[in-house]
């Protein structure tokens, strides 16, 4: 057996088994995350079925342009994350740090776009619990729409924030030379988390910005 130094913990037979255990653990965590978000998606599904008109009216206050741009930004950051994993596996340290930095920059850009959208809704008086002052048709159910919108995008944004912290730690470790082609599982596993964050947005975007617009 090759000597991998500190990279191999004693409870594992080899590097491959150690890596397999880590990715397995991350996938188990992501399965619980699917159900965590799943409850909210279920809530959306039921209420959208009950109050389609209110959901249509709420959806038309969101900016389709901002939604589409933030989707594109998140997909780009996912692509850079994927390139980070490739650079780590092929031992290109500078490329790894660079790609991680680009992933982080795009994640911050995503949050900035989302904050501007939230601010826009806040100034229109559409933030439930803060200043909800909507007086057109069916305000209670429009409030329900925005309650769900802010909960789901808020939960997603908190995941993005955690992702930024995680990837920053990884970038610093990578800069210090912690990863080699033999040992880069933390990059791989962080990548899984980051792609999951992208996955959630892939569903949030159509549900809030696309499919409710024409409900009348």
């Amino acid at each position: 057996m090759a000597n991998h130094g500190l990279a191999l913990r004693h409870q594992f037979d080899d590097v491959a088994q150690q890596k397999e255990a880590s990715t397995f653990g991350m996938w188990l965590f992501l399965a619980t995350e699917v159900l965590f978000f799943g409850g909210m998606f279920l809530c959306y599904t039921i209420y959208r079925r009950w109050y389609p008109v209110a959901f249509g009216m709420g959806s038309n206050h969101l900016s389709l342009m901002l939604g589409a741009v933030s989707t594109a930004v998140l997909i780009c950051s996912s692509y850079f994350m994927a390139c980070s994993v490739n650079s780590a596996a092929t031992g290109k340290k500078n490329a790894l740090v660079g790609y991680l930095a680009m992933t982080i920059v795009l994640a911050i850009a995503f949050l900035a776009i989302e904050m501007s959208e939230w601010h826009m809704l806040y100034s229109e008086g559409l933030m439930p619990g803060f200043n909800f002052t909507y007086h057109e048709m069916d305000p209670r159910h429009v409030q329900l729409f925005f309650g769900l919108y802010f909960s789901m995008t808020g939960l997603h944004a908190s995941h993005v924030t955690i992702g930024i912290i995680l990837l920053t730690v990884m970038a610093v470790r990578a800069y210090r030379g912690a990863f080699t082609p033999d040992y880069h599982t933390p990059i791989e596993v962080s990548g899984l988390y980051w792609h999951f964050v992208d996955l959630v947005w892939i569903f949030l975007f159509p549900l809030y910005y696309l499919i409710a617009r024409h409900l009348q």
């Binding site: 990715t23 996938w27 159900l35 994993v85 490739n86 159509p206 696309l210």
Partner: protein, 99 residues
């Protein structure tokens, strides 16, 4: 388990496909297609999600154990949605006895 290194070219191909699908779904969202809006938007979202899971998250090349975890995660979500939606959708189909 031998490690599979996915090339940047492969990632690039997936990335371009995801971007094109985002443009298509945004364009379709601007049109009023009636009930088809939901079908088109969700079908494209499922295709995009599958691309991310299979290639960005390497499930296509991963071991059976990890594939089982992925499939069971989706299956439990399906169960949650299916049972609850079928309850809400069928309420009022049958009269309550004595009411």
């Amino acid at each position: 388990m031998s490690e599979h290194i996915v090339t940047k070219k492969q990632y690039g191909f997936v990335f371009v496909t995801l971007m094109v699908l985002t443009l298509v779904t945004t364009y379709a969202g601007m049109k009023d297609l009636g009930p088809l809006n939901v079908v088109v938007a969700l079908a494209i979202a499922v295709i995009k999600a599958s691309l991310v899971v299979l290639f960005f998250m390497h499930v296509y090349w991963s071991t059976k154990l990890n594939k089982i975890v992925v499939v069971s995660g989706i299956a439990w979500l399906g169960l949650l949605l299916w049972l609850t939606v079928s309850d809400f959708a069928t309420r009022g189909w049958l009269p309550f006895p004595g009411k």
